[in-house]
Structure formats: C-alpha cells, structure tokens
C-alpha cells in the first residue's frame, strides 16, 4: 500500500442518514476508519448497523450524506470506490451451486484480482478449505460457508473490509482462528475493518475502537477495553445492556 493511500481514511462516512417512509433508520452518522484499524459497530437489532453497511456497499442509497472509500466518493465513482472494498455477511452466502474455487474465481475476476489462481490457493489454504476446493458451497456446513465467504472477502486485499456478524454461525475454535486472520490482515496489509457483532467478548478481543449504535445514532465510541471502566461497568456486555435499555427508556413515551 502506498504512503498516500495510508495517509487518508480507508472509510469516511459524512452525515449519513437514511429514512424509509418517514422513519429514520440511520440519523446523521459521521465517522472515519484509518488504515489498519478494526472498528466494531454494535447495537441492538434494528439499530441501523446493516443499513449503514448496505449504504457503504452502495446497495442502498443514503437519504443524505456521503461515503468515501479510500478517498473515492462512492456516489460519484461507484465502481472505483467498491474496488477498494469487500464484504462478508451471513445474509449474503455465495452461490451454493458453484464450488469453492469456482466462486472464488468468479468474484476474483469481478474484483480484478491479479494473479488470481495463486491468490485463490492462498485463500483456500488460509481458511483451511483445501479439502473442499471442488465441493459445491451449498454442501458445506454453515461454518465452512462462512470461511468461504471470508476467503472471498479477502481475495482482493481490500482497503476496507466490511464484516457483518462474521462469526455468528461458527464454533468457538474456528471463530478464534478467523479473528486471528482478520487481525493479521489489518496489521500486515494495513486494511481497515468495520465489524458488526453481538458478541461483546469478540468486540473487546478484536476491535481497536467500537461504536455503539442506537436508533441510527452513535451513542458512545471508544476503546472497547476502556469503555466499561469509564462508565462504571464491569464488562462491555453490562455496558451494552445498560446503554441499550437506557436509550430505549429515553425514547419511550
């Protein structure tokens, strides 16, 4: 990665808002992620996490605001901006009627991955998928499918990696391995990661910063290892529960 690439945020979200039929789902959200940073985006179901990710991925147009990926404005230069990113989400499985390698080859071509065959081999090995290379993804367990999805997400060495609950359906041992891969990736490639999760242990273990989203707004932001102490809580999970309930009561009539 060049010096100029490292000098600007991998992701800059500027006053992002989204409303559906008058209901505001994401409300004036602004934040940025630096290269090499792993940022946790947490919140109750319906807090606006996936809506935010969908807007960053360009599959949902914001009602207001801008997204820039590696300095490229998503609204004005969609393809150029999306070439800098990739994602993995449980609700976006890779086609089950293609094999692991076929899926990786097709998405590798879409993301213009150089020396694709070698990169596929590297990803297959990294995510322990060698014995499933020629197995159709639909025949894999949900954990194995998640690993394929992560392999696809890292194929193009994205400047910005979006992970929506990447370890939701996998066993603790595999989840730990995946967390290590993502950490290594952020350190080695200086890739930025936006990670949504309901697992507070995971957020504390992986993320260098976290944002707690409630009703489309950032409620608190900071180092997940320091935040509980700052708010007089024993753990991040306690803080999450306390703030989430508090924000609900605040809004309740």
């Amino acid at each position: 990665m060049t010096k100029s690439a490292l000098s600007q945020p991998a992701l800059k979200v500027d006053h992002l808002s989204k409303s559906f039929l008058g209901r505001t789902v994401v409300d004036d959200l602004s934040f940025s992620i630096a290269p090499g940073e792993i940022v946790g985006l947490v919140g109750l179901n319906g807090a606006g996490k996936t809506t935010t990710i969908n807007m960053i991925l360009g599959v949902l147009a914001p009602s207001y605001g801008n997204v820039a990926i590696a300095g490229v404005d998503l609204g004005a230069h969609r393809e150029e901006a999306l070439a800098q990113t990739n994602f993995s989400a449980v609700y976006a499985p890779l086609p089950g009627n293609l094999t692991v390698v076929q899926n990786l080859r097709i998405f590798g071509m879409m993301y213009d991955v150089p020396e694709l065959s070698a990169r596929i081999d590297e990803m297959v090995e990294m995510f322990d998928l060698t014995r499933y290379r020629n197995t159709r993804c639909g025949l894999l367990s949900s954990g194995e499918q998640t690993r394929v999805s992560l392999a696809k997400a890292l194929l193009n060495k994205p400047r910005l990696l979006l992970l929506d609950e990447p370890t939701a359906s996998i066993d603790p041992s595999t989840a730990d391995t995946i967390r290590n891969h993502i950490r290594d990736y952020a350190q080695r490639e200086r890739g930025a990661v936006l990670w949504t999760s309901h697992n507070m242990y995971e957020v504390a273990a992986v993320c260098t910063r976290m944002m707690l989203l409630s009703r489309g707004r950032i409620l608190i932001e900071g180092d997940p290892r320091e935040l509980p102490g700052k708010h007089g809580m024993a753990s991040l999970e306690d803080l999450f529960i306390d703030l989430s309930r508090g924000s609900d009561e605040e809004i309740a009539p």
């Binding site: 559906f20 039929l21 996936t50 809506t51 969908n54 991925l57 360009g58 599959v59 949902l60 147009a61 969609r78 393809e79 150029e80 999306l82 070439a83 994602f87 989400a89 609700y91 976006a92 499985p93 890779l94 086609p95 089950g96 009627n97 293609l98 094999t99 076929q102 080859r105 097709i106 998405f107 071509m109 879409m110 993301y111 213009d112």
Partner: protein, 267 residues
C-alpha cells in the same frame, strides 16, 4: 467496461451448464419437440392442402424463428434468474461490476446459449423435414438479427421486472413471447388482424420480419426497407430495455430492495 468483469458473468454460466445436465437439456429439448410437432403438422397440411403451397417454410419456419426469439429472451433471463435463485444479487451489486457490465454479461450469455439452440434447430428441421432457412434468401440474415435484438430487449426488460417485483414475478416473464405472438403476425399477415391490433403489430419488430419471410415463401420479394425499419426499431427497444434496467436498479438502490430482495417489497 472491463472485459474481465463481463467474462466473470459468462464464466459463471459456463460453470453452471458444465455441471448440470438439467440446464443443458432444455437448450435443445423444447426446440426438438417444437421441430417434431410442427414438422408433422406442416407435413400433414401439405398432404391435404391444394398442391403448390409449401407449409414447411411458411409455418414450420415461422414457428422455429419465433421459438428462436423466445430462446434468446430466455437465455438472458435464465442467466439473471440464476443470481435470483442463488440469492447472489447483493454480492453482485456490491462488487465493482458496473450495471452495463452485468447486463452485457447476461446478454452475451443469452446469445451463446441461443446460438447453440439455433444450430440444433436448423440441423433437426433440415434433416427431418427438409426446411432450409436458405429458402428465405439473404433476408434471413437481417431477419435473424432483428429477432436476436428484440429477444435480447425482452430478456433485459424481463430481468428488470423481476428485479423490481421480486422472485415471484418470474411467472410474468416466461409467457411474454406467447403474449406477444398474436400481435407479431407470426402465422398470418398483419392485414388479417382487426384494426385496433394492427398499430400494435407494426410497433413490434418481429412483425416486419414475418411479413417479409411470408412474402418470400409466396413468391414475392424481400422488403429490405421494412427489415431496416425493424432493425432500427429493435435497437430502440434494446436501448429502452437497458434504460429500464438501469432505472429499476436505481429505484431498488433507493428503496433498499436489493439489500432485502427476498422480501420482494420494502414498502
């Protein structure tokens, strides 16, 4: 447009066809059935009708050419439906692939699969019933081009409809050629249609093709001006279909339908 992006869409279809006889068989099976069915009907009609008129190029040829248009449309929509069925639209539209590259990939896939069908159709009709598309003279070339372009336009517009209305809208797309065929004067001249149907017939490029080919089978001359008009009209339909797809994609991005495609509606 990047060729590698377009090639990815085509490669996906090649992988699917290579690994699935159930996808390969329909490329030929329905065509073969149509050739047999209409081949025997025309042979019977030739036997009972007054001598001098050959039903083979007039009727079997017309059926097969309309079938060809349907296959072109289905070639495009099938490639799109594969992404619908495998819930792949989110990953596709979140990638750096442009809409033009995606649609071009679908169209090229449709062209490849329908060309396979065309070869089988010509071989079977020729071997079994003596139909030769060469009997239409040079007019068959622009005629096929018009049917090609209009079939592609139908496929792109049909894909856009399914993108907007959701997976259940598939059933609206499959019968599109059958719905249009009465207006396209496949088997009868436009002049035989009631007055209110005739403007609709002239708005459809295939009508010009079938009018011309019918005239040739009856000893007349090819009307190349009409074919040129049909070609131009097909290009207009193709541009309109591409514009419709881009418009629908824009609507789906604004209302969040791509991200929630299985819900079919977000309103």
């Amino acid at each position: 447009m990047k060729m590698r992006h377009i090639a990815a869409i085509i490669l996906r279809q090649i992988y699917l066809l290579r690994g699935s006889p159930t996808r390969v068989l329909p490329l030929f099976a329905w065509i073969a059935i149509d050739v047999m069915l209409w081949g025997f009907i025309t042979r019977y009609l030739n036997a009972i009708a007054s001598p001098g008129f050959d039903f083979v190029p007039a009727m079997l040829g017309a059926v097969l050419l309309w079938d060809f248009l349907s296959r072109v449309m289905q070639g495009v929509t099938m490639a799109f439906f594969e992404d619908v069925w495998s819930r792949n639209l989110l990953a596709i539209f979140a990638s750096p692939l442009s809409r033009a590259e995606y649609v071009t990939g679908l169209v090229l896939t449709g062209i490849c699969t329908s060309l396979l069908g065309l070869v089988v159709m010509i071989a079977l009709a020729s071997l079994a019933f003596g139909l030769s598309f060469l009997s239409y003279g040079m007019a068959i070339i622009p005629g096929l081009m018009v049917l090609f372009l209009f079939g592609i336009a139908l496929g792109v517009a049909g894909s856009a409809m399914v993108l907007r209305l959701g997976p259940a809208a598939e059933w609206l797309i499959w019968p599109l050629p059958a719905v249009l065929s009465p207006f396209a004067s496949v088997f009868y001249p436009v002049s035989s249609l009631p007055g209110w149907m005739q403007p609709l017939a002239y708005a459809l490029p295939p009508s010009y093709v079938f009018e011309t080919l019918r005239a040739i089978t009856q000893g007349g001359q090819a009307d190349y001006t009409a074919l040129a008009q049909a070609f131009g009209l097909s290009l207009v339909y193709l541009a309109a279909a591409a514009g419709f797809f881009v418009h629908v994609h824009g609507v789906c991005v604004r209302n969040g339908l791509i991200a929630r495609y299985s819900a079919e509606s977000v309103t």
